[in-house]
Each structure stands twice: as structure tokens, then as C-alpha cells.
Symmetry: C2
Subunit: 322 residues, 2 copies
């Protein structure tokens, strides 16, 4: 079976680990969000790609959910001793090496998709990880605080300001020109089912959906999403701040409507959100909290099972229509 999954950072990566456990024989392609990529100290940092790669490759800091295990922070301290900004972004020494390799390869002319493949040669994540686009896009957030109304990089809003200053607008700079990376559309076309993990619906999944052609390709497939909202709150992270910025309620219902039909064919919600529904979408209620790897595998299995059932049903419907 060929599965495509979109993915953001921590939540997506943990879900993918469950997906690998639930579908050990599947050929899994992950389309990773690059909207929160940032250049720091001249080095290109791709937080979501790295979180997926480290998590699936066994190099993640399990407690933190991002960055490397057994990490040290000598380089960061030294950069601060030189007065280099920014000092609010926590890069560890092991992580620095990844960004040095990536930047070296990008400067040598390799596209991000090939760089990511080269980095994964080391990590062997067990999935094919493709950035959503080789073109540079960056999520910026319009805020209005004591310094006035201005756009800041998503990471500055998310990490430095901890999304505490309300976002007036969230923009993917470069979205108009960005094309899907090589292999993205083909992987979707060849997929048996597509899964949307409980990643941030605005700045992770929503960002990927903005890349020309990706939404349209997904609409032709059987897509099952896992709600990132349980009982009116994000499973993890600060998705509520992002949803509020685009005028969407922090509910499993509102996120389903945001994705909409025909994009989504199936939607997994938590048991307390069992009333959620949308025309054309099959909604099922399941325990959705990823306490541990086993729970993540259970959720992934439920998503794949639903997708396979929907796909078979659509296949039969297609045959009957002939």
C-alpha cells in the first residue's frame, strides 16, 4: 500500500512514528512543511523537516519533541558571547551540524529536496521525506504591539513571542511563485490513501495546501484527516492562536470545515467531539490523545483503516457509475 502523509513538526512526526508502526509494509511518502524555515547566522534551518527526520531516525530529543538527543549548546553560547542575534532560537551543537551540511549543499546548488534526501541517507527515517517545495517560502505573521504594526517571521512570533501577541494575519511569503518539489504530485497521484496528521491546520497543513497544485491533487484522492483539536483545545502546541488569526474557531468542526470537502473524505475526532459532521465526509470518533507510541499507532491505524474503507467504497461507486 502506498500512503502519502502531509506533516508539520512535533505532532506530525509523532503521528508518523505511529503510522510506521501501524503500517510496517506500506510505502510512505511524507510531504513536509517548509513554511517555518528560517535563515539563522547564515545557516538554513528547516525545523519541521528536521523534526520528522530526527523523530523517525531515532535522533530526536524525546522530551522536548524537537532538536537532537544528548544535545549540547556550546556554539550558541559562543555566538551569544560575540553578541550575535538572534539569541531566542535554541540551536544545539548537533543540530548546527545539520544546518551546516544543508547550507553547504544549498550554496553548492542542490535543491532542498535533494539536500533532504542526502540528510536522510544518514537518518534512514523509513519514509520518503520530500519538502513541499524547493522554492523558498516563509510564513510571516502580522502583529501589532508596542513597537507598532509589523510583520515578523513565524519563528519570531512562535518562539520569541510564544504566540502571545495576537496575529492579525498569517502570510506565506513566496507562495505565489512556489511549485511543488519534484516527486510531490507524483507521490500523491500514486497514493492509495492520503493522511492528514493532527499537525497545525494553519501553519503546517494549511501552508502545504497553499502550494500550487497540491490541494487539487489531494482532492482526487481518498484523504482522511485526524483532528488536531480535541474538546475545543489543540492536542499540543498553539494552533488556537493560528486559527484565531484566520477567523476560525478552535473546534474539530471548524477545522474540518476549513479543510472542507472534496479535500477531506474522512475525519477522525475525539470521542467528546462525536457530533462533528460535514456533507461528503465520514466522521468517526476515536481516542485521539497520543500519550505514547502505542497510542499514536492506534490513531494512525484508525485513520488508515477508515481511508482504506472509504477508498474501497469510492472504488465500488466508481465501478457502479461506469
Amino acid at each position: 500500500m502506498r500512503i502519502v502523509s502531509l506533516a508539520g513538526g512535533i505532532g506530525g512526526a509523532r503521528f508518523l512514528r505511529g503510522l510506521l508502526a501501524a503500517s510496517p509494509d506500506a510505502e510512505i511518502t511524507v510531504i513536509g512543511n517548509t513554511g517555518d524555515d528560517i535563515t539563522l547566522f547564515g545557516l538554513r534551518v528547516c525545523p519541521d523537516l528536521d523534526t520528522v527526520m530526527y523523530t523517525l531516525g531515532g535522533g530526536i530529543d524525546e522530551e522536548q519533541g524537537w532538536g537532537r538527543s544528548d544535545e549540547t549548546h556550546v556554539v550558541k553560547e559562543e555566538l551569544a558571547a560575540y553578541g550575535m542575534e538572534p539569541q531566542w532560537f535554541g540551536l544545539g551543537d548537533r543540530d548546527f551540524a545539520t544546518h551546516i551540511v544543508r547550507t553547504r549543499m544549498l550554496d553548492a546548488g542542490y535543491p532542498l529536496s535533494q539536500v533532504t534526501e542526502a540528510l536522510c541517507d544518514r537518518w534512514k527515517p523509513g519514509v520518503r521525506l520530500i519538502p513541499m517545495s524547493d522554492d523558498r517560502t516563509e510564513t510571516h505573521v502580522v502583529i501589532n504591539d508596542e513597537q507598532g504594526r509589523r510583520a515578523v517571521h513565524f519563528q519570531e512570533w512562535w518562539v520569541r513571542l510564544r504566540a502571545a501577541v495576537p496575529a492579525e494575519q498569517i502570510l506565506l511569503v513566496g507562495a505565489d511563485e512556489a511549485r511543488p518539489a519534484p516527486g510531490v504530485l507524483q507521490a500523491i497521484d500514486e497514493a492509495d490513501v492520503v493522511i492528514l496528521p493532527p499537525s497545525n491546520p494553519v501553519v503546517s497543513i494549511g501552508t502545504i495546501l497553499q502550494i500550487k497544485g497540491i490541494r487539487e491533487a489531494l482532492e482526487r484522492k481518498t484523504v482522511v484527516g485526524v483532528s488536531p483539536i480535541v474538546g475545543g483545545a489543540p492536542v499540543r502546541g498553539m494552533a488556537d492562536a493560528c486559527l484565531t488569526a484566520i477567523g476560525v474557531d478552535t473546534t474539530a468542526q471548524a477545522v474540518l470545515e476549513l479543510y472542507g470537502s472534496p479535500l477531506v473524505d474522512g475525519w477522525l475526532v475525539a470521542e467528546q467531539d462525536a457530533g462533528v459532521g460535514l456533507d461528503g465526509v465520514v466522521v468517526e470518533a476515536r481516542p485521539l490523545i497520543m500519550h505514547d507510541a502505542g497510542a499514536a499507532a492506534g490513531i494512525a491505524r484508525a485513520a488508515v483503516d477508515l481511508a482504506v474503507r472509504l477508498s474501497e467504497r469510492q472504488g465500488r461507486a466508481g465501478e457502479e457509475a461506469r
Copy 2:
């Protein structure tokens, strides 16, 4: 008193520490060798400038003579885990931060002299450290081994091959176009005396002397050199391999002749080399082994004393000639 000193790496830096101790009230300008600079992993590394800066700024690994004290090597290990080459150059984590800052500033358009000044803002070496040139020059070495005749970067010959393969030629690539960095010629013109420390006469001092205008400016000043060769062997390092490459004997006499007159006015040799001499040069014999900081200060004091005496004598001679 205004002193200008040229400098290479370890030997030069230790001598300069002695010079600072011997002449605490002097205004010292150091013209640093950049011929052994190298770009590694996309980062610009200036080994000699950094050795001077770390040594005088209290950040040096005292035992090794180069690199940072309390150093760790996490980034290097991680780069090796990615298969990144070269793996023969030992960059520590603290040191990496220096190269990240330097590269960031160079990429932003600052010339190396301003970058060096910014780095020294942190280290406060007690001297004004200026690279010999803002223009990129790199020493390459022509060798002939089982892989055939070819030119390698000086660092590859020095560090990876440990200068064990004979050098057929030593070339400063970019020398023809390179101009002295801002402040270099002015510092020489305004100097009361100039000191050549016991740095490598070929790839450190010899490199600086190749930058257009520097030798000519020095010839107008009172210059005292400290022989890097004692009893037919380098005080430290592998200067013999470099001297052999350019057809010069490894003796205090041959190095004096290499520098020549009118460049050098005074020459300090070790007691066993007391017979050395050259027309127009005052040679004095002194203990020249830098066992410790005290010995380095003693040698520096002897060099400055000789230079001051020669300068006064030349001043009188100049007045008498009027």
C-alpha cells in the same frame, strides 16, 4: 612607542604575548598572515588571525597552541556522521562559532579587516590586529606523490600530510591582485620600530611580504627580526620543509639572507648561531627558546631594545647626513 609586528600562528602569537609583557605602554599593531585561510564546510577559517586573537585574548588552548581552551568537538563528529569532508581539519565547537560569525559578516559585505576588528571587540587582545589584506589569497603547495603532481591547499599539506610529502613549490594564489588591508601601510609608516617574530619565514612572514607595498614600506623602517631557526632546526613547527621547498637552508644565516637588507636592520640569533652575519645588519646572540611567557618577554625585550638602539643610531646618522 609605536611597534608594528608581523605575525603567523603559534610562534608569532606566543612572541606577541611576550612583546605585550615587555612593552606594556607601547601601541602595538599586528599584521596577520591570511595566506593559510581556508573555507571549510562553507565557513571561512583564518587560523593565524584566530591564534593571535585567542592567545592574546586568553581563549587559546595553551597546550596545543591553537584552537580554543575547554573545547568540545560535537559539530565535527556530527559532520563526519553525515560524511562531510574534510575530516582531517580539527575544528572545535567554540571555534566553529568564530567562523560562523566571520562568514556571516563576510557574506553581509564587511571586509575581513572589519570582521577581525569586530571579533577582537570580544577578545580584546591588547593589540590592533589587521589582516595583511582584505583580498582573498591562499597558499597552495605543489606536491608529487602516488596521486601525481598537483597543487593542494597549504592546510592539506600542513595538517593532513604533515608536510611529509616534499613541496616542489609554494605559491600564494591571488598575491598579484591583493592589496594591503586598510591601515597596514599607515601603521608601518607611523611605527617607531618593526619586529619580525620567529614565525615561519616562508608561509607566514614570507607571505605577508608578498603583498604589494608591504616590503617597500618596511624597508623604510627600522626592522629587527628574531630567527625562527636555532642550531639548524626550527624553534617549532615545520619551517624546514617550507625552506627546503624554496631552496633555502634551514639556518639562521640563510633566513637572514632570505629576508635580506635593506629589509632587516637587526637580527637576533641563538647563542650557538653567533657567527651569523650580513652586510648592513646588526646581529646579536640571545637565548631564543620560548620555554614560557617569561622567556618570550625576554626575547621580545631584546628585539625591541635592539630596534630602538638601531633606530636612534639611524636617526643620528640621518641628522649628520643633513
